[in-house]
């Protein structure tokens, strides 16, 4: 096993999971000394009927202070400030966030304002500015992928000044994450595939990147094995509630792994492609994942080889000679993307040129590459990638992932 000279691990969020956990929320609130939660969501969550499910599950046993489902996909300071008025006007004393990354980030920002009794969120921007626990905060993720309910960071935009503000503190973490299979049951197939591949990427990257440690490794291996065993089944049989729950648990495990050991080039490029072309995060993850492994191959191929076991199971692992396992892992992930592509009627993109928007137009153009590569070298995740990433490196990977060609590993710049 890999024992680093030094490591840290912290995952202090209580995880309550099952098919009927929402009903336990009133009890959790009571244990946290809270009586009137504000429920936050976005319109998508309401449209999918999820707010209704949450409301029905808890309304008999707790007084809901207010429900606000007006969190936009790119939430900003103004939204947070508006919500703090809603919170105060309704005498709320806890936050329940239902949704994905944006809702969770907004809730984290809101929690700072209402707990510190402040009006200006900027006072708390940056790392480690918070010094004490905030108000009770329960997160109900609805995507089984992002893992934002487990990360100590929040990004909130300031649209007036065209900047994104980063907040980092362990006190931003929710007290409890509720993993209820009903929240992901109606997720469409291609969306399930993309979010699950995001979780898969969290697990895989946390296993090969620099901050890996024995505890994050153990979480990552569990997550990979669960996703690999359940993803295609769930895509083919969307109402498989048990499979859905296992995927959601896997995403949580992956979140625990990567919030401690962080991620690398797959996210570096993914963030940039998302920023420049507006491609959904999960789609970028599935496309770049095999390239991320190829790019770091010369430094971490023993770790990549170890991933074959949770991915492909004992038979394939035993049948593959030791020196072929790392390559087999990469091949396996490419095949998984192909299978997802087939199972979703082609909606799961395998390479960049294949990503289409709702109107069937190509979202990423070759002319975007320059901007993408420029942004990439300033992305925080590049610090954690085993190999250095500069402009040319990003271009190399982008070119290859344009039409799904495997990366020519000889072209990757190495230690001179």
């Amino acid at each position: 096993m890999y024992l680093p000279e030094y490591c840290e691990f912290l995952s202090p969020v209580q995880i309550a999971s099952g098919h009927h956990v929402l009903e336990k929320i009133p009890g959790f609130l009571k244990a946290l000394n809270a009586k009137r939660p504000l429920i936050l969501a976005d319109k998508g969550v309401t449209a999918a009927g999820l707010i209704g499910i949450v409301e029905d599950a808890i309304k008999d046993n707790v007084q809901i202070g207010a429900i606000d489902d007006d969190v936009p996909p790119d939430s900003d300071l103004k939204v947070v400030s508006r919500l703090s008025d809603v919170y105060r006007k309704n005498n709320c004393d806890a936050i329940i966030a239902v949704g994905g990354g944006s809702v969770l980030d907004t809730a984290k920002g809101l929690n700072i304002l209402v707990s510190e009794d402040a009006d200006n969120l900027m006072e708390f921007a940056g790392a480690n500015k918070l010094k004490r626990p905030l108000k009770p905060f329960i997160a109900i993720p609805t995507t089984a992928g992002t893992g934002s309910e487990l990360t100590m960071a929040a990004v909130i935009a300031d649209h007036d000044n065209f900047i994104k503000i980063l907040f980092g503190s362990r006190f931003l973490l929710p007290d409890i994450a509720i993993i209820d299979s009903r929240m992901t049951l109606t997720l469409p197939a291609f969306f399930t595939a993309a979010t699950a591949m995001d979780a898969m990427t969290h697990a895989v990257e946390s296993y090969i990147c620099l901050q890996k440690n024995p505890l994050s490794d153990a979480h990552a291996l569990s997550a990979i094995s669960l996703i690999s065993k359940n993803l295609l089944n769930v895509i083919r049989k969307p109402d498989d509630q048990e499979g859905r729950l296992l995927l959601a648990k896997a995403a949580t495990l992956a979140g625990m792994a990567f919030s401690n050991s962080t991620v690398g080039i797959v996210h570096t490029l993914g963030h940039s492609v998302g920023g420049v072309c507006g491609v959904p995060h999960g789609t970028c993850m599935s496309i770049f994942l095999p390239y991320g492994l190829e790019y770091n191959y010369h430094l971490v191929n023993p770790f990549i080889a170890e991933l074959l076991f949770p991915l492909a199971g004992p038979e394939v692992y035993a049948d593959t000679p030791e020196n072929k396992r790392a390559e087999k892992t990469i091949e396996y992930i490419r095949q998984l993307n192909q299978d997802l592509h087939d199972a979703t009627g082609g909606r799961h993109a395998r390479f960049l040129s294949e990503i289409l928007n709702r109107d069937g137009e190509q979202m990423v153009k070759k002319s975007h590459f320059d901007a993408i590569a420029r942004i990439s070298i300033g992305d925080g995740t590049k610090f954690y990638n085993p190999e250095e990433i500069d402009y040319d490196d990003s271009m190399l990977v982008l070119e290859a992932s344009w039409d799904g060609r495997p990366l020519n590993r000889n072209l990757v710049k190495k230690n001179a």
Partner: protein
């Protein structure tokens, strides 16, 4: 029954002095590298004018402050962050961690990994500053040590490395 005492922390003067000298020299070297090396110059171009970066050790320093003036000149601003406008901080938790970093037992990347230091400010600028820092280390240190300090030792030509090294050492050290 046991006994109660209070322990007043001692100062680690020698380590502090080592860091003071090292960071002073590196700070001056950064300023000069911005003149002699095109890549370092380009990195500084990506940082806005009137922008100061500090690498500081908690809680008593020393620090390394460099910045860009209103008209875009790169400056070394000394060993203290006191009374300065700092736009980006790279904060090392304690002096032992700083010693690991500046005796090259841990690379900048590994120090980040081990939470020996953390960032407060805009990440793209921090990334640029780390690249500057890496380049300066490649100039200042012999390859065998620089390899421990940076993630990927660059394939620079011998001429670039040596001529830069001579210029930086001379001008940072004795101000030629």
């Amino acid at each position: 029954m046991g006994e109660y005492k209070t322990y007043r922390p001692k100062r680690k003067i020698l380590k502090w002095l080592y860091l003071y000298v090292f960071m002073w020299f590196t700070g001056r070297a950064i300023k000069i590298a911005a003149k002699v090396d095109d890549e370092v110059k380009k990195e500084f171009d990506s940082i806005p004018n009137n922008f100061n970066v500090a690498l500081e050790v908690l809680p008593y320093g020393p620090a390394l402050v460099v910045g860009k003036t209103e008209d875009g000149k790169v400056q070394y601003l000394g060993s203290s962050t006191k009374d300065k406008k700092i736009d980006l901080r790279m904060i090392v938790h304690n002096i032992e961690n700083a010693m690991q970093l500046f005796t090259f037992q841990e690379s900048t990347a590994i120090s980040f990994m081990r939470n020996r230091l953390y960032l407060d400010g805009e990440i793209p600028y921090a990334a640029a500053f780390v690249r500057v820092f890496d380049a300066v280390e490649v100039y200042l240190l012999p390859k065998i040590i620089a390899k421990l300090a940076v993630k990927r030792y660059p394939a620079w030509s011998l001429i670039r490395k040596l001529s830069g090294r001579v210029k930086i050492y001379l001008r940072a050290g004795i101000g030629v």
